[in-house]
Subunit: 206 residues, 2 copies
DNA sequence: CCACGCATAGTCGGTTCCGACTAATCAGTC
DNA sequence: GACTGATTAGTCGGAACCGACTATGCGTGG
């Protein structure tokens, strides 16, 4: 068994990615990620950033270059990618693409207990979700269109493409469920008030 | 602005859900979740379970019932849902369904740097992902079919339906990207060696 | 010309999370 | 009837994570 990845925080991947271009200090990494809208793909938190950078340095994937300072501002430590880091970056990416990871999105959790909401409430909530998703999707597609207009290579914004595809799939699923509930092909096992469970009131021994 | 949810761990939702049926002790919750395959929707970790139960008790959504003990085994504290807990459970569910949460799946992160893999490697990795996803999807569909054979109400396994839908969407997206790369509609901005960045070599001052 | 706000750069401490561990009982089995 | 492995039930310490905070420099409008 391969021992688990020494740096698991995905923000580390972003750091490595940035450093393939140029050496940088952590603050700049955060700013750059935000500029490029990559903060939609990576959870960029100042605290985590410094933690992750330290971790990457500890395992030797990046190295502290210079420690400069302008005026009396706090020091800026500039890091750059090591050769090992370059390999590991590609390796990590490759693995992330190849191998789906079990994840636990909150909507999956909610759906698992959808029954407890009762049919009417469930339908309403799903419809609201659909409308929020629609807005999101339109937003992403606007970005995509704008990028195309400016001849930005599609590969540079492929993550938006993916995000749109997944959001659309989710919206469609919600719509289907709402429809099925309307048509009666997805029926509600009776439990009008969520508390009154047949199982519970049967009063099992033990 | 509503103050953030006092218990954020989604495992708490599962705990509340179980307690709508009957009082239980934490270990039993974990076992039950596993039996019902809900460990696919909730990250069930022993440690987290006890933490979350304590948190739920602290905010008064559940209450310790009895503390029994068999023989000299460790005590089992049985918890049950309070009235407040019942309301909050529905409220929480409703909100989770209504309002999509920004999440950071690892594949999204990977896709954001897909360019760095180089075209050939990217295609291969994507194809492998497709095949893994296909296996997963077939597995879920088998479960679904089996459940139908046994006349389990569809609502009880709706989360599997959702999971299948999303996995399928992801597979289709991967296939599309692979195809587009083959057809040349998704081209690789040249960057055979990931280091050489046009932006960088333009050489901004300062 | 200085007060105020925004940008720069990073530290720090508390909470959350989780895996590894303890420890007793039970069900076989040789 | 003692040993083995699985099941029951939970504890605990360390790692990861993140938000709130510090502190300086820069710009600008009244």
């Amino acid at each position: 068994m391969a021992k688990r990845r020494p740096v698991s925080n995905l923000l580390g991947l972003a750091v490595l990615g940035l450093l393939t271009e140029q050496p940088m200090h952590p603050y700049e990494m955060g700013a750059t990620l935000r500029e490029r809208k990559l903060d939609g793909s990576f959870k960029v938190r100042t605290g985590s950033l410094y933690d992750v950078v330290e971790a990457l340095q500890r395992v030797g994937w990046i190295a502290a270059d210079t420690t400069e300072r302008e005026g009396r501002r706090p020091e800026r430590t500039v890091y750059s990618l090591t050769e090992l880091g370059q390999l590991e970056f590609a390796q990590w990416l490759d693995e992330l693409v190849r191998t789906p990871v079990k994840e636990y999105p909150s909507f999956l959790a909610a759906v698992s207990y959808l029954g407890a909401l009762g049919q009417e409430r469930a339908v309403q909530a799903l419809q609201e979700r659909v409308s929020v998703l629609d807005t999101e999707i339109r937003g992403i597609q606007a970005t995509l269109a704008e990028a195309e207009r400016q001849h930005v290579p599609r590969l540079f914004i492929i993550e938006a493409d993916y995000a749109a595809a997944m959001a659309t799939a989710e919206r469609d699923w919600c719509l289907r469920i709402v429809r099925e509930m309307g048509e009666g092909t997805l029926t509600w096992p009776d439990r009008p008030e969520p508390t009154r469970s047949a199982l519970a009131s049967a009063g099992g021994s033990s």
